[in-house]
Amino acid sequence: MFRTLISRFLQGLLVLFVLFTVTFFLIKALPYGPFQTEKAIPDHIREKIESYYGLNESIGTQYTRQLGNLLKGDPGVSLRLEGRPVIEIISQAFPNSLQLGIVAMAVAIVIGIPLGVLAAWKKNSSLDYASMAIAMIGICIPSFVIGPLLAENFGRRLEWLPVMGWSPLSPASWVLPAITLGLGTAAYLSRLTRAGMLETLSQDFVRTARAKGVGSMSILTRHCLRGGLIPAVAYIGPAFASIISGSVVIESIFVVPGLGLHFIKAIEVGDAPVILGIVMLYGTLIIIANFATDLLGLWLNPRLRSSN
């Protein structure tokens, strides 16, 4: 067990290193830089700015400097929001992304898992077909369609909720972005839960339990739920990481001051320190989420423990 942990940790470090290197060289391969603007900056000024930020040095020097900075825990300053430390940007934006991600994940779980259990329990009934149809729609319709639809109807027409804006302390401002963001995940979760539950429900021990006269509710919750949720749980970890990192569309539609907007804007201009800072953060999150999922899987599924 301990050895597995250590090896996973080292694997994670290796992945982060490769991620950093690949991202760095991809940024440097962009055909433009942060100081190539629509209104052209005079050459003598641009050269000066570039030398100020060390962009005129050789790629190798820039690479080692950037890597060194990162190892020291400071990715440097933004070139787009000139001079602002990447740490400041992330520490301002990440809590919002995280909060949105947690609420969206809660939405996904609250909608997705009961829907999947219900569909599996009433297999091939109209309830099953209806919930799976909803799930299919949830998967197929992209958030840039759902978001404006929700905002237009619940925000503008019914005036129940604000159409945009984010306030960490006002739950009303979380609702629409969290639903928009969580819906797709909810749909996947319900399908995975349904599949997992169906598989468990067809096991021999379920038949034995039935034969012994255990009530169907008890079979569902006490005997099957833990095993049936394994596929869904395996999905939750990576889904959580992708919800946090993939909310740029939602952030734009609902004006949530999260990391996604910084990320996209930084890519648009080739703002290397910000891109690298955010990529490394996302990478770390995904590695942690996967690891946590594995641990959770071990706890849920004793069979894995013996084979390991």
Partner: protein, 635 residues
């Protein structure tokens, strides 16, 4: 949280969200204006930015010598200056500052702040991207481009010699010398042998050399640097000694940049050429002051980025001061009690919301979260006009959309071809159906003040076909398949319309090529494109804001086109002190350029946006710089 509580959550959220009073109503009560401002500003340091969104924020927190008039484009109400006068040649201007002018920390705004501000803007080490805006100041360009030799020689700082003696010396970099053998970005201390050093100094030129390099040459001037024939080595030595001695000095004083503080409240500006529109020009934020005492508290004059322009350090001389700044969320300003005209400021504060998505912004406005929007997407204009026409604003704006042509491409280098392409576009249709509210362009510069360019552009498919045939492509046969470069999604519709018009009127087929913003810009700057859809917004109300960019080597030209005659006309206009004659030269220059069609103007901009009726004191303005001090909320 228990399961039951989780299920109740949505209901609780909804109840919390059912507000009776909209945000605009609340803001009306508090006297706060809510403004959609499109995007996060790059910075609030007015020396570091070039954009329009930054100008709105800077306009709330700072004030130039001359203020914006809320109603008239040509109104020049006093700002930081009470009054001003100029000499006969329009090259010397004196501004008398407000005796009550105060920074938002209570310190007086003095002429020294203005001189400091221009000094900082022009400082070679600060590298202000928009510095060319203040080049009209005498000697500003030499100082900013760090022409150290010229400055020292002209100022008489070098004994026994003068600029006339030495002007052919290689002060600037020599592009013909290849530095590659020295490796990537070589530095003086790393170079050891003389051959390497010699290559380095020749390539860089004297102005860019550190003191050690100059001293190295001084040890053997004739052998280590190439001088123009007939240079006296004694003079060269004197020059090198002076340059080495002052290599790390700031040459602002010696350069004689044309900005001086006569006394605390009198600012004297000397210009390199007559600028009749100077009062209008100084309304641009590049001419605004920065607080010397605050900037220097947080760093040196030449430090590119210091916390002086961040909350809570930033201090301005405008009607408002910074209260909150959250990335991609809000920038809020509230009253500056020290503002000289604070008694007449109508608002208690402004919240600028950086809403990137124009559809979200429109939705926010219509549900009562904004007083005004930054933009209205053209596909929503019709709906707004039918449902809530009282909010719709469509106002002329000094900007032009055009197609930039790479005149270095074969076929496109033929003026007849470019003219044919121009004549085959029906601009009226474009404006009626796609660029709603825009006006068909008949030349590049929109009408401003007393300047009106000749009407060159029209829709004439007959003539277009004839010209194309004359150029060797009758009925479009054999015409190469060029592509039209676009970037913004909004540009696609008009690009497709133009594609169809050329197919229909000339039987010429083009492709539309979409690139991300950075690649789109860089393709144009490296002339790696055929045609590109583009736009230009004027910075001030004078035709030069549209015309100077088409000179040879200008970073915004990107057409490969240039003309000596055109540049003669422009420089003739620059030296002309008579405003009417000056505009006439500019009109001729514009005519000359338009007749050669390096660009195909499409339409003149309209600002399409939404505004609530309770906002008073907001009038249509060509530059769209609404002075926030004049705005009142009267629901």
């Amino acid at each position: 949280m228990t399961h039951r509580a989780l299920f109740l959550l949505p209901l609780a959220l909804c109840l919390a969200g059912c507000q009776r009073e909209t945000q605009v109503e609340k803001a009306n009560r508090e006297g706060i204006m809510l403004i959609g401002n499109s995007s996060e500003p790059k910075a609030l340091d007015l020396h570091l930015v070039t954009g329009v969104i930054e100008s709105k924020l800077i306009g709330a927190m700072f004030e130039g010598l001359v203020a914006d008039d809320p109603e008239k484009d040509d109104g020049l109400p006093p700002g930081a200056a009470v009054s001003w006068e100029h000499n006969d040649t329009l090259t010397g201007w004196t501004f008398h500052l407000q005796p009550d002018g105060r920074w938002s920390d209570g310190a007086p705004v003095t002429a020294h702040d203005f001189v400091f501000s221009y000094h900082r803007m022009l400082h070679p080490d600060l590298a202000a991207p928009y510095v060319e805006m203040v080049y009209p100041l005498k000697n500003a360009e030499d100082y900013n481009k760090n022409r150290r030799g010229k400055i020292l020689l002209t100022a008489g700082a070098v004994p026994n010699t003068s600029w006339d003696d030495m002007k052919d010396v290689g002060f600037g970099p020599d592009a013909k010398v290849d530095l590659a053998p020295l490796g990537e970005s070589p530095k003086w201390p790393d170079l050891t042998d003389d051959a390497q050093r010699k290559l380095f100094v020749t390539a860089k030129g004297l102005d860019a050399l550190p003191a050690e390099a100059l001293e190295w040459i001084l040890a053997d001037p004739a052998g280590r640097y190439s001088w123009p024939v007939g240079t006296f080595m004694a003079k060269a030595k004197a020059l090198l000694t002076t340059m080495a001695g002052k290599a790390s000095d700031d040459l602002f004083e010696l350069a004689g940049v044309g900005a001086t503080a006569v006394d605390d409240y009198t600012l004297q500006l000397e210009l390199r050429e007559p600028v009749p529109y100077l009062p209008s020009l100084v309304r641009h934020y590049t001419w605004f002051p920065v607080p010397r005492h605050v900037v220097l508290k947080h760093g040196k004059i030449s430090d590119r980025f210091t916390p002086w322009s961040l909350y809570p350090n930033i201090v301005g001389n405008g009607p408002f001061k910074l209260k909150t700044w959250l990335f991609h969320d809000v920038i809020e300003v509230d009253r500056n009690p020290h503002y000289w005209n604070a008694a007449n400021v109508g608002l208690n504060g402004i919240r600028f919301l950086p809403i990137e998505n124009p559809y979200t912004e429109t939705r926010a406005f219509l549900s009562g979260q904004l007083h005004t929007t930054y933009q209205l997407p053209s596909d929503l204009i019709k709906e707004v006009r039918e449902t809530t026409p009282e909010y719709l604003r469509q106002e002329p704006y000094v900007g032009t959309t055009f197609i930039r042509i790479n005149t270095t491409r074969p076929v496109l280098s033929d003026t007849r071809v470019r003219q044919a392409l121009a004549l085959a576009i029906d601009r009226q249709q474009l404006c009626d159906y796609i660029m709603e509210g825009y006006t068909p362009a008949t030349s590049l510069t929109p009408k401003m003040g007393s300047y009106e360019p000749d009407k060159v552009l029209s829709f004439d498919p007959e003539k277009a076909r004839a010209l194309l045939a004359e150029a060797g492509y009758p009925d479009g046969s054999g015409f190469p398949r060029f592509s039209l470069l676009i970037s913004k999604p909004a540009a696609r519709a008009s690009a497709e319309a133009i594609q169809a018009m050329w197919k229909q009127n000339l039987n010429v087929l083009i492709d539309i090529q979409n690139k991300d913003w950075g690649s789109y810009i860089s393709a144009q700057q490296s002339l790696d494109f055929d045609m590109a859809s583009a736009g230009w917004i004027g910075d001030y109300l004078d035709p030069t804001t549209f015309l100077t960019m088409w000179t040879e080597g200008n970073g915004n030209n990107n057409t490969g086109w240039h003309s000596d005659r055109y540049e003669e006309l422009l420089s003739g206009a620059a030296l002309e002190a008579d405003p009417a004659k000056r505009l006439e030269s500019l009109r001729q220059a514009e005519r000359l350029m338009m007749d050669e069609y390096p660009i195909l103007p499409m339409s003149w901009y309209s600002r399409n946006y939404l505004l609530r009726p309770e906002v008073k004191g907001w009038h249509p303005l060509l530059l769209d710089n609404h002075p926030y001090s004049a705005i009142r909320l009267e629901p």
